[in-house]
């Protein structure tokens, strides 16, 4: 019985962690989208680097989510 309780708790924690990471992916997606909208307002050459960085951030957030899905 205590073993089952531990499993339930850890499953619950895992779901909460995955939910949190999923929300973070959405946040990273919002940054990418917002960067695209901002670059329409201001057209400058240096925006390509920022666009790349926001995509890297989004990719990293997705990788962490997948990693959590596999490891936890």
């Amino acid at each position: 019985m205590p073993e089952n309780a531990g499993l339930v708790i850890w499953t619950g924690i895992k779901l909460i962690v995955l939910l949190g990471l999923g929300i973070y992916i959405i946040f990273a997606g919002v940054i990418v989208r917002q960067e695209q909208l901002m670059s329409k307002v201001l057209e400058a050459d240096s925006e390509k680097v920022l666009a790349a960085l926001s995509w890297v951030h989004f990719g990293a957030a997705a990788v962490v989510f997948i990693l959590a899905l596999l490891i936890l």
Partner: protein, 230 residues
Amino acid sequence: MSYDIQFCILEDMPVLFEAPPTKKQPSRKGNSSAQTESTTVKTGTTALTAYFMHPKDIRFETQDADEDVILFMRQHIIVLIPKLIFGICIFFVPLFLFPILAQFLLSPIEIPGGYIVIGTVFWYVAIFGFILTSFLQWFFNIFIVTNKRIIDIDFLYLLYKKFSEAQIVRIQDISFRTGGIMATMFNYGDVLIQTAGELPNFVFEKIPRPAEVVNTISDLAEKVKGKGNV
């Protein structure tokens, strides 16, 4: 005569050693031309530009065809330093704080290694996200002075956009304020612009060289108003 003979001998000899082709070293003349080229390239802005007169590579959303950007400004880059320092400090938190916390919090439940790995990786991704959003907010909060109007574009918390503009002819009063150790050292301050009628007043906050900005806008306003009177 002797020269002719020497030339003939050299021409008939087989090639024993041929020097590898060397890269062309830029001459001093070439360097100077490169330097002049780099100075001409300076008409463009970089990602860290906070003040630029007559930028050639900047265009904004509502810019008219006959409208020229005279002054392009962001907040002084120094405003990013506290956030950067905060980011660097929290970067080292997992290395120092977590082992100390683990010693003090003697929990009967052992945390699986996977959670520690995910937690640490996420920590660094979140720090990257924090620095990126801080930079984006700084990068896209801009003040533009054109030959027709002044424009203030603000992005609040990355989700709200505020676009304010006023015609140059509407400018009534312009002043600047600067104070504090950092502002004095790095020459930045707030420029306050009062406009006629019910238009909102403009505050360009923490922009570099506020005195120059005031002079530029005043000269421009006088010029535009002078044209209007004629």
